[in-house]
């Protein structure tokens, strides 16, 4: 009996069901932010920085709950299945691949976008002793013999970094279905494997690769953003060295389950607008190596839908799509 009461209590706490449907003054009790990644990673860090600001603004605790199991599948599903009452929000990143790869049935339409706050352009990292001096040489070589090279995905192969690399190579005319992509335990582990000579290319954010670049083990051939990054002035953009005008990388935003009432969306969107444009917060993000990108609810929705179709198309091209989805 005691267990059941405890369990019932816990269930209520997680899902955030409120018996009172009247929402006179949102938020009248603590809000949960589901972070679909483990404690300590980038998604968690940015999520906690947001939570702190939202809490100060709304005067209610915004509690971060980490659910990183299965590459975030568990957390993303629990955001989707939560009540759209404004008491469960979530941090989201590229998740378009999960449905196509048959891992979890989640789509942009399952969520109410609130705002995008982060974008980190992908870097294209190779070992320092690689014969490639620039991205053109690398892409030419891979185009000539796509099955000679191994690219580490960081996490799962549908994630932000491998998708960025694949999209870029596909655009260049590489037969990406021939390139070997291997999954792993995150970008840091992949970079280690690169330095150890296990793989040929690791796409990741430049700050993540920073320490190994600094120590002269690896080099970044290009960054897939509009302009060079302040902290890495020597790494050229994709457009400088090729004709490709692409902006690819990892992004993060705040979402809620589909059907969040418009007035709560507006309130959260305003709050996010202020936070993202606050100098102190931007400095905090920069100090920890995260890029800032603002998109309001509508623009974020379009961006995610756009991403969803392009990522799913490239997954088909790569041959990663699961048959039963």
């Amino acid at each position: 009996m005691r267990h059941q009461i405890a369990k019932a209590f816990l269930i209520t706490a997680v899902i955030g069901i409120t018996p009172l449907s009247a929402m006179a003054e949102w938020p009248e009790r603590p809000v949960t932010i589901v972070v679909p990644s483990g404690a300590g990673g980038g998604t968690d860090q940015t999520g906690r920085m947001l939570a702190e600001r939202l809490q100060a603004r709304f005067g209610q605790p915004f509690n971060v709950v980490n659910q990183g199991q299965g590459g975030g599948v568990v957390g993303i599903s629990s955001i989707k299945n939560a009540n759209p009452d404004g008491y469960t929000l979530g941090v989201i990143f590229n998740f378009a691949h999960y449905a196509t790869m048959g891992q979890s049935d989640v789509h942009v339409e399952d969520f109410t976008p609130i705002a995008q706050y982060n974008f980190d352009p992908a870097g294209f990292q190779v070992r320092s002793d690689s014969e490639w001096e620039n991205i053109d040489q690398a892409l030419e070589a891979i185009k000539d013999a796509p099955d000679d090279y191994v690219i580490a995905c960081g996490g799962g192969c549908g994630g932000s970094w491998p998708m960025a690399a694949a999209t870029m190579m596909n655009e260049y005319g590489v037969d990406v279905s021939q390139v070997r992509f291997i999954s792993g335990q995150g970008a840091a582990a992949a970079l280690q494997d690169l330095a150890a000579g296990g793989v040929d290319v690791v796409p990741s954010s430049l700050p993540e690769a920073g320490p190994l670049i600094e120590s002269g083990r690896i080099k970044a051939l290009a960054v897939m953003g509009k302009e060079r990054l302040e902290a890495f002035p020597d790494v050229p953009t994709l457009q400088e060295s090729t004709d490709m005008e692409l902006e690819l990388g990892a992004w993060r935003g705040l979402i809620a389950p589909a059907g969040l009432p418009d007035d709560i969306v507006a309130e959260l969107e305003n709050a996010m607008n202020e936070i993202v444009h606050d100098d102190e917060w931007r400095q905090q993000m920069q100090d920890r190596g995260f890029g800032v990108q603002w998109r309001d609810s509508e623009a974020f929705n379009e961006f995610m839908l756009d991403q969803q179709s392009s990522v799913r198309a490239i997954i088909e091209t790569l041959g990663l799509a699961s048959g039963n989805s």
Binding site: E52, Q67, Q69, V150, Q192, A196, G210
Partner: protein, 497 residues
């Protein structure tokens, strides 16, 4: 520079934060299911308000204390406080039952401190060199290291080797649930997204060790062997003699811990399994392991504390986290402007030295704080089991929920408890199962990824010097003992033939 760094530590704020974190770490480490990584993650918001030195000194103190204090409930209740204590929990509990709790905890305490000091000195003197080791590890080397780890399963199981292997396989099977680490296909998930994340490691650990103990008590409240409390008064009686006798094993444990810790992805838990198994292998009387002798406890407690220092090497030199614990520490380093990398030693030399010295100091502080903690915790044995057991159930439920944030984790924990109970009842040791859960994903992922890299050519597993070395060690452990036995058998037969 070292003196400057030392002066940075000797401020009231820094020392105060370290003491507070030490207490916090001891408490969290001693509660089953509250892992060290969680404790550090909870400290992150607090560290916003602290200066870099106190913040980082606090975090490293927390880690050192939590890993040690996981031994306490292990010895007193047979419930490991953190995964790092799982390898020798049986042994230290048997010691408690035979009235040697003081020896078990006293040795564990001193060896933890020795291990920690060894690890921190290695960190201070050899960080860049040890960092190079981490960059030698590709998926091929990881595969062989994990195979080497699997052989430790036999080392940590008492009685029948066959039962040890079956227990290991149960662990491997538990780890198969969830998304396949390479292709991302669902396995044994029954179409629920909760299982696609796999069965949580901490809930399985708590279930197997703690819940099974509760079930056993519930079914036979009378005859559960309650360890005598009186013997705990002589905390250090005989400890120093044992340490002098086991100096080589302890030193070896320190070495294993530092090296395994320095390899990202292999942490305190794997280090303590390997150290325990190595000690058993070299012992003249391996059959007495698991009956309550101090040998394995000494080397394994030294190695799990040494591994924390080792794990800080790739974290500070290359920004590569070895486990979830160091991942959080890297976050704090960035936050405090100590961006990890080789230049951190040049640009922020004093600051990073101060952090390393704080870690050394924390490992010295383990001694006084540990004694107080043991003296407080031993009263647990005086609590009637009918009161204690419901409290343990509560801690199990909260612990498994807190680590995964899903109710399914609680269900996982309860089911694991039933499995653990039946395994124990039928003489299957639990430690190999935990080892299986830890190593299965490493073996599988690295095996498959390596084959993808080589387009299916198995020779890649012997294509790198370090890999060949690890492979030879592993195969020697598998092949040589049966060969020796065969030779002995042949010799014994000769005269009669």
């Amino acid at each position: 520079m070292v003196i400057d760094a030392f002066m940075m530590l000797m401020t009231p704020t820094t020392l105060g934060v370290m003491v507070a974190c030490a207490i916090y770490g001891l408490v969290v480490g001693a509660i089953p299911g509250f892992s060290a990584a969680m404790a550090v993650a909870l400290m992150v918001p607090v560290s916003y308000f602290l200066d870099p030195v106190p913040a980082l000194a606090g975090v490293v103190t927390l880690c050192a204390m939590a890993i040690f204090s996981g031994d306490i409930p292990g010895a007193l209740l047979r419930i490991p406080g953190t995964p790092a204590s799982a390898a020798y929990v049986d042994e230290s509990y048997k010691m408690t039952c035979s009235g040697n709790a003081g020896l078990a905890l006293g040795t564990g305490l001193i060896c933890s401190s020795i291990g920690g000091i060894f690890g921190s000195i290695a960190l201070i003197l050899a960080a860049p060199t040890l960092g190079d080791l981490a960059l030698q590890f590709s998926s091929v080397e990881y595969f062989w290291l994990a195979c080497l780890g699997l052989t430790a399963a036999i080392g940590v199981s008492q009685g029948s080797a066959a039962k040890g292997v079956i227990s290991l396989c149960i662990g491997l099977l538990i780890a198969c649930v969830g998304l396949d680490p390479v292709s991302g296909q669902s396995r044994f998930t029954f179409e629920t997204s909760y299982l696609s994340g796999g069965l949580g490691f901490i809930p399985v650990l708590i279930g197997l060790f703690a819940m099974s103990e509760v079930f056993r008590f519930a079914l036979a409240p009378g005859d559960s062997d309650r360890p005598p409390i009186s013997k705990l008064n002589g905390l250090f009686r005989g400890v120093f003699g044992e340490i002098r006798r086991l100096w080589f094993q302890i030193l070896q444990g320190c070495g294993i811990g530092t090296l395994v810790g320095a390899i990202p992805g292999a942490g305190a838990d794997i280090a303590s399994y390997i150290a325990y198994a190595a000690t058993k292998k070299q012992s003249p009387h391996p059959e007495r392991f698991g009956t309550g002798i101090v040998d394995g406890v000494a080397s394994a407690s030294a190695s799990n504390n040494a591994s924390v220092g080792g794990a800080l090497v790739p974290a500070t030199v290359f920004g590569i986290p070895g486990d979830s614990l160091t991942a959080v520490i890297i976050g704090v380093l960035y936050m405090k402007g100590l961006n990890p990398g080789p230049t951190v030693f040049l640009t922020q030399g004093t600051l990073i030295t101060a952090v390393f010295l704080a870690f050394l100091l924390a490992n010295l502080l383990i001694l006084p704080f540990g004694i107080v903690a043991i003296r407080l915790f031993r009263h647990i044995l005086a609590v009637p089991r009918s009161v204690l057991m419901p409290l343990i159930v509560g801690a199990c439920i909260i612990g498994s929920f807190a680590v995964e944030n899903t109710v399914y984790a609680v269900v996982t924990m309860l089911i694991a408890g039933l499995i653990g109970f039946y395994m124990e009842e039928n003489g299957f040791p639990l430690a190999p199962a935990i080892l299986g859960v830890v190593l299965a994903p490493i073996v599988e992922e690295n095996f498959l990824n390596t084959l993808v890299k080589s387009n299916g050519d198995l020779m890649i597993f012997l294509s790198r010097p370090l890999a060949v070395g690890l492979a030879m060690i592993t195969l020697a452990i598998w092949v040589v003992p049966p060969l020796i036995r065969l030779v002995h058998y042949m010799k014994a037969r000769k005269p009669t033939a």
